[in-house]
Amino acid sequence: MADPTDPVPPGVTPGMTPDMTYGDAPLHTRMTQFAPHAQALGMTLVSVEKGRGVMTTPWREDLVGDPETGVIASGVVTALLDHTCGLAINSAGEAPIPIATLDLRIDYMRPARPRAGLTCEAHAYRMTRSIGFVRAEAWDEDRGDPVATAQAAFMLNTRS
């Protein structure tokens, strides 16, 4: 069972550290404290490297989607996938740029286990001048047995 206080969630190889900087604040600060909804869910950044990021979010009573089983809501999975995809895009470039999600497709393979938190890894596998393409997976205990997978496209540099 995933322990939300465990710094290394199941399925994640420790070693990478969230010490990349983004703007004037570390990336992990920007991805958590600066995003009120990520903070409200209790998301934490586990690791980041160029074009890849891992984030985790804990199980909580008020985030349950099925009160009969105590399984976390699929909406929380959606938010975690979207947020981690944004992290992967943000870490792919040299400098921080404003981005916008164009579309996000999510396949729900199976419900998470009751009272289990979630971990998500996203990979920005292709970056063009204006578009970033990302794939992501979310799991509860076993990296090889995902709860959901996602495919997303982001528009880059939306302010220019």
């Binding site: 959606t78 999600t101 996000l104």
Partner: protein, 139 residues
């Protein structure tokens, strides 16, 4: 419990802790349902714009689809989401968001549902969604 359509969908939303966490509620005009997501600070994803988190918009669209299915099939078990595709059209500002769903097909086992969300003007949607939902006819 009342058997009215509103009671069945309201009961669905009240039973789901996550729907209460977001603050989602529904309004009915006859058989036409509008889901409402009142703005709240904890829904913000980008405080600079500011904009509601894309994941929140996605979750709201999915809950709208599930509410419309609850309305169409009172008393049935909540369907399981198979897949959703969310299209983001405009940044969702710090305002109330509304959504309506169309049941494009409700088959024996699977439903295809399309949802659109807007804020100030219905003609300027902020996001759309198409999803497939597994219907559970065993209770």
């Amino acid at each position: 419990m009342s058997e009215s359509p509103f009671a069945s969908v309201d009961a669905f939303l009240q039973r789901v802790p996550y729907a209460r966490f977001l603050g989602v509620r529904v309004e009915l005009a006859g058989d036409e349902m509008t889901a409402v997501l009142p703005f709240a600070p904890h829904l913000v994803g980008n405080p600079v714009l500011p904009a509601i988190h894309g994941g929140v918009i996605g979750a709201f669209l999915e809950l709208t689809a599930l509410s419309q299915l609850a309305l169409a099939q009172p008393g049935r078990r909540v369907p399981k989401t198979i897949d959703i595709t969310i299209e983001y059209l405009r940044s969702a500002g710090p305002r109330d968001t509304y959504a309506r769903a169309i049941l494009r097909k409700v088959g024996r086992r699977v439903a295809n549902v399309q949802v659109e969300a807007w804020q100030e003007s219905r003609a300027k949607p902020v996001a759309g969604m198409t999803g497939h939902f597994l219907l559970r006819n065993d209770g």
